[in-house]
């Protein structure tokens, strides 16, 4: 991992949270978990941007889950950490 690829503080927290939420986390869960830990609201803008960034760097991936009614029939993305970096993140 080059210097540029080392995730920042917030990104690292997101990664750890995804790691903690087993069976694939999705964004609202991650947000709630982060908020519980930090004791303050997490900006959804920051969260989705972080997820995007992590995905581009190959640190997370997502899969699509069936749409449900309480989401207005819209799809759901479940995030998980790519196996290769699991160790790196935890060690940091």
């Amino acid at each position: 991992m080059t210097a540029r690829e080392v995730p920042g503080e917030f990104d690292r927290r997101v990664l750890v949270t995804i790691q903690q939420l087993e069976d694939g986390a999705y964004a609202p869960d991650i947000a709630h978990e982060l908020e519980r830990g930090a004791g303050k609201t997490v900006s959804r803008g920051a969260l989705y941007t972080a997820l995007d960034r992590l995905e581009q760097r190959g640190l997370v991936r997502w899969s699509i889950e069936e749409a449900t009614e309480e989401r207005g029939g819209l799809p759901k993305r479940r995030f998980e950490i790519t196996e290769t970096i699991t160790e790196t993140v935890v060690r940091q």
């Binding site: 609202p28 959804r44 920051a46 995007d52 749409a67 207005g72 799809p75 993305r77």
Partner: protein
């Protein structure tokens, strides 16, 4: 989609949808938001959830926007570093390869392209500042008046009335069965309608009055209303201090209570928090203040009553036989929840039909109808505003055509650039979008200046809204008006931008590239479009000019209407002789007799008299029949205006006597000493023409159409017709009866003076106060009254003339521009012609013919639009044929003159072309 979970705020999710790049990621994020919104709604308040949604949607939008703009900035930096960047003529690579600028952003989409287009567009506009300023100003001139007129419409018409559930508040009118008129209710009808209906939660009546109010010092005239308690309840407002009246206070003796308006409480009593319970002197009697209405309360008065009530008093209804046929009560009610207007109207009509059967004497041929309160309160203003909105709409179209022609002409300069970009791979859609973005950018700048123009315009318009239009202070620039501006600005940008954009993008590449070498192959077709646009502008401007001329002629006709009296040097003083001191008719009579005699004796006074009704200010009418007709409740008779006047009135106003004589003191005395005998009256010529056409009116007998009649009369004189309902409505038959004062209505002191009438005001005021210190006097002059009735007309005339002037300026500038362009494109041709020996006179004629040819297209088109505008102007004009051929021809000549002025300079320049110079430009 589910109905079980709450739907997120529509606008916020639309914003999110717009800002995020299309695809499954966007859908999943929207889904996350949806789900979380639902959870928050369940857990807490819907408002909190909405707030949360907005906050995070905007936050995410901002993040996305920031991320997307970043790669482009890097690109731009890179470009600046590259050696080619030094060449200003190299088109922006972001656009050349602009099948989307996507090369620079893997996630490219609407926003990326928009950002590029905007930056590029802004650069283009800055590069040609003069052009940009011209276009922006033209657009501002087009959009500004629309914003101003819209804000007036919004403030007066589109804003709902300031009452809870305003749609349930309606006005109730009686009317003749033959047409739908605005006739107030009679006491009897009110009682029956209120008791008998099953549709109204509240129904009440009121009468606008002026009161003499005196606490310390000089008494003042205060506008107010006397109303039943149900009126205030129907409006659904609670007082800010104290309480409303109760029904029990509508009885003489218990009615001496008053509710103040917020404004009056602040102005007159300096917001005294302890005002409730205090006594004020109204019409000489003590009234206790029981409440103050809230600031938001506004009594929307009907029937063009100009007064904004400052005080509200209980109305004590007289219920004698005499009042059965007297229609004097304005009425409003609140419908029961869920009852539609139609059903309520049917309900009231049933009662009216029963009344007509039971008491045909006063109720035959009279019907009831319901009008939404807002419409009843606006009168003719709505129509004038719609008319003005159409006019400013036309100005905006002209501005659009004007800017479109400027853009089209500029297209020639940009052809090369666009062609290069197309060659390098930009698709047609992409180019059109770029050009439209530029148009939108221009129109937004125009919109900003338009708002400034509108701010000024709204101020001016507010000052010019005729008195009597309710809620004029609600006319302001607010969020809705700004939203309207945004919408109209966007539409404007699309309208003027689309045609030139499509045109430019369709141009053939080879031709455009050749043009870059100085050969403009596309200019012929462009010139055709340009001329079409100018013709369009000419046509619309012609219509505006025609409308202006129609209004000018109408105005001239209105002010030169023979009003039937001489208003110069006539002082008017309105005095209400009301209150317990004047309960007896004798007391009132004595006061007026004294007053006219004493004022008549003042130096500088030629004559002093009194009347219950002034010319031009509406009237007081009743049905009259000839004395030899038998009374029949099924026959209405002829509607006649009634004025009760003191001797000397006809002379004081200079109304010409056509036959017989004026009313004298002896006639007044006779009326008073012989009750039951015929009263001696003077009538106008219109009455004689209706009752006894071709005959003399002298000695003829009449009576009021009632059983028993209010009076029977013998005609002793005939005078000229005086205009009663403004200048524009023809005179109705009128009857002048020896003075009997009427309670609750002002009597006007009419004084013909030798000099300036206003100089006499202090003396008159002093005499009134010597007679009764409680009476307030409002003074005006007859000339002012004449002035006021022409105010609205002058106002719309001024506006339309202003707009037509702006339109003409735009059109002249447009014509000049197109002709200059046309000439500049033909310099070489002219050069060759001159070199081959063409004489300059012929050249001049050639170009003149050219210019006039497209002027004639415009005039042809203008004829059609002028006729259309004449149709919509129809109800604004007076005494002139809307399709007057003289005006149409005059307008056409005027337009040709404008075209000639506009093309004179380019033509002159063309005729002075030096052939050597022209050929050298090759």
């Amino acid at each position: 989609m589910s109905d079980s979970t709450p739907r997120p705020p529509l606008l916020a999710s639309a914003v999110l949808r717009l800002l995020l790049p299309k695809g499954i990621v966007r859908d999943s994020i929207l889904g996350d938001f949806w789900e979380e919104y639902g959870q928050r709604c369940e857990a807490g308040s819907a408002f909190g959830a909405r707030l949360w949604y907005w906050r995070h949607a905007l936050g995410l939008g901002a993040h996305t926007l920031a991320r997307r703009l970043r790669p482009q900035r890097q690109t731009a930096d890179a470009e600046r570093r590259s050696p080619a960047a030094g060449d200003a003529r190299t088109p922006d690579p972001a656009l050349v390869f602009g099948a989307g600028g996507r090369d620079f952003s893997k996630r490219g989409g609407f926003l990326d392209d928009l950002a590029i287009d905007l930056r590029y567009g802004a650069r283009q506009l800055i590069r040609r500042p003069a052009f940009t300023v011209m276009v922006v100003l033209t657009l501002a001139v087009g959009i500004g008046p629309n914003v101003a007129i819209f804000s007036v419409m919004k403030g007066l018409i589109l804003r709902s009335l300031p009452y809870p559930e305003p749609h349930r508040v309606v006005a109730i009118w009686q009317t003749e069965t033959s047409f739908r008129g605005y006739m107030p209710l009679s006491t009897h009808a009110y009682d029956e309608l209120r008791e008998g209906n099953g549709s109204f939660a509240e129904l009440g009546v009121y009468v606008p009055y002026s009161f003499n109010l005196r606490d310390e010092g000089e008494p003042v005239r205060v506008d107010g209303i006397a109303c039943t308690a149900s009126v205030l309840r129907a409006l659904g407002m609670q007082p800010a201090l104290g309480r409303l009246f109760t029904d029990a206070e509508e009885v003489a003796g218990r009615n001496q209570v008053v509710i103040l308006s917020d404004g009056f409480w602040k102005r007159r009593y300096a917001s005294d928090p302890n005002i409730v319970g205090k006594l004020v002197n109204i019409n000489g009697d003590g009234f206790r203040v029981i409440g103050v209405m809230p600031e938001s309360f506004e009594f929307v008065s009907l029937w063009g009553s100009s007064a904004r009530p400052d005080i509200h008093l209980p109305l004590v209804l007289p219920r004698g036989e005499l009042y059965r046929g007297r229609h004097w009560l304005l009425s409003l009610g609140r419908l029961q929840d869920g009852v539609p207007v139609g059903a309520a109207e049917a309900d009231l009509r049933g009662i009216a039909a029963r009344l007509a059967e039971e008491a045909p004497n006063t109720n035959a041929l009279i019907q009831v109808w319901i009008d939404p309160l807002l419409r009843s309160s606006l009168g003719g203003v709505a129509r004038t505003l719609v008319f003005l909105l159409i006019i400013v709409g036309v100005v905006l179209l002209i501005a659009c055509a004007n800017v479109a022609s400027m853009l089209l002409a500029r297209g020639s300069h940009r052809m090369t650039e666009l062609a290069v970009r197309a060659t390098l791979g930009a698709g047609r859609r992409r180019l059109v979008r770029q050009l439209i973005t530029e148009s939108l950018l221009l129109s937004f700048f125009g919109g900003i200046i338009a708002v400034l123009i509108a701010m000024w315009g709204i101020e001016a318009l507010r000052g010019m809204i005729p008195e009597g239009v309710p809620r004029a202070e609600g006319v302001q620039l607010d969020g809705w008006v700004l939203f309207f501006t945004l919408v109209i600005t966007s539409i404007t940008g699309l309208v003027f931008g689309l045609a030139p954009a499509l045109f430019a993008s369709r141009a053939d590449l080879a031709g455009a590239l050749k043009e870059g070498l100085g050969i403009d192959s596309g200019w012929r077709s462009r010139r055709r479009s340009l001329r079409l646009l100018v013709a369009l502008q000419l046509g619309m401007a012609f219509a505006l000019v025609n409308a202006t001329m129609l209004l000018v002629v109408s105005y001239r006709n209105v002010v030169s209407v023979p009003i039937g009296f001489d208003g110069e040097r006539v002082l008017l003083a309105g005095i209400y002789t009301d209150g317990t001191a004047y309960e007896e008719s004798e007391a009132r009579f004595a006061f007026w007799q004294d007053l006219t005699q004493r004022v008549g004796g003042l130096p500088g006074v030629e004559l002093a008299a009194a009347t219950t009704k002034l010319p031009l200010r509406g009237g007081n009418n009743a049905f009259v029949i000839s004395a030899d007709e038998a009374y029949d409740p099924g026959v209405r008779g002829i509607l006649v205006e009634h004025s009760w006047v003191m001797p000397g009135y006809i002379e004081a106003l200079g109304i010409p006597v056509l036959e017989g004589r004026r009313l004298e003191q002896e006639d007044l005395d006779a009326t008073r000493s012989e009750p039951g005998a015929d009263v001696r009256v003077v009538v106008n010529q219109a009455l004689v023409d209706r009752f006894w056409p071709g005959e003399s009116g002298l000695g003829k007998r009449l009576r009021q159409n009632g059983n028993p009649p209010m009076y029977a009369a013998t005609v002793i004189g005939v005078v000229d017709n005086v205009r009663q309902w403004g200048l524009e409505r023809p005179s109705l038959p009128e009857i002048y009866i020896p003075y009997t004062p009427i309670a609750g209505r002002p009597t006007y002191l009419v004084v013909r003076t030798a000099g300036d009438p206003s100089a006499l005001v202090p003396a008159v005021r002093q005499i009134v106060h010597e007679l009764d210190p409680n009476l307030a006097v409002t003074a005006t002059s007859m000339e002012e009254i004449v002035e006021v009735v022409t105010e609205t007309r002058r106002f719309s005339l001024l506006l339309v003339a202003l707009f037509a002037g702006a339109a003409l300026f735009l059109v002249a500038a447009g014509t000049y521009g197109v002709m200059s362009y046309s000439v500049s494109q033909r310099v070489r041709e002219v050069g060759v012609r001159v070199a081959l020996g063409a004489d300059r006179g012929r050249l001049l004629l050639f170009f003149l013919g050219d210019g006039l040819r497209f002027a004639s297209w415009g005039l042809g088109l203008g004829l059609v639009s002028a006729i259309w505008v004449a149709i919509i102007t129809r109800n604004q004009i007076y005494g002139v044929n809307p399709f007057s051929p003289v005006l149409l021809v005059g307008g056409a000549v005027f337009m040709v003159a404008v075209v000639l002025v506009a093309i004179a300079v380019p033509i002159y320049r063309a005729s002075r072309v030096d052939p050597m110079e022209a050929l050298r430009t090759e």
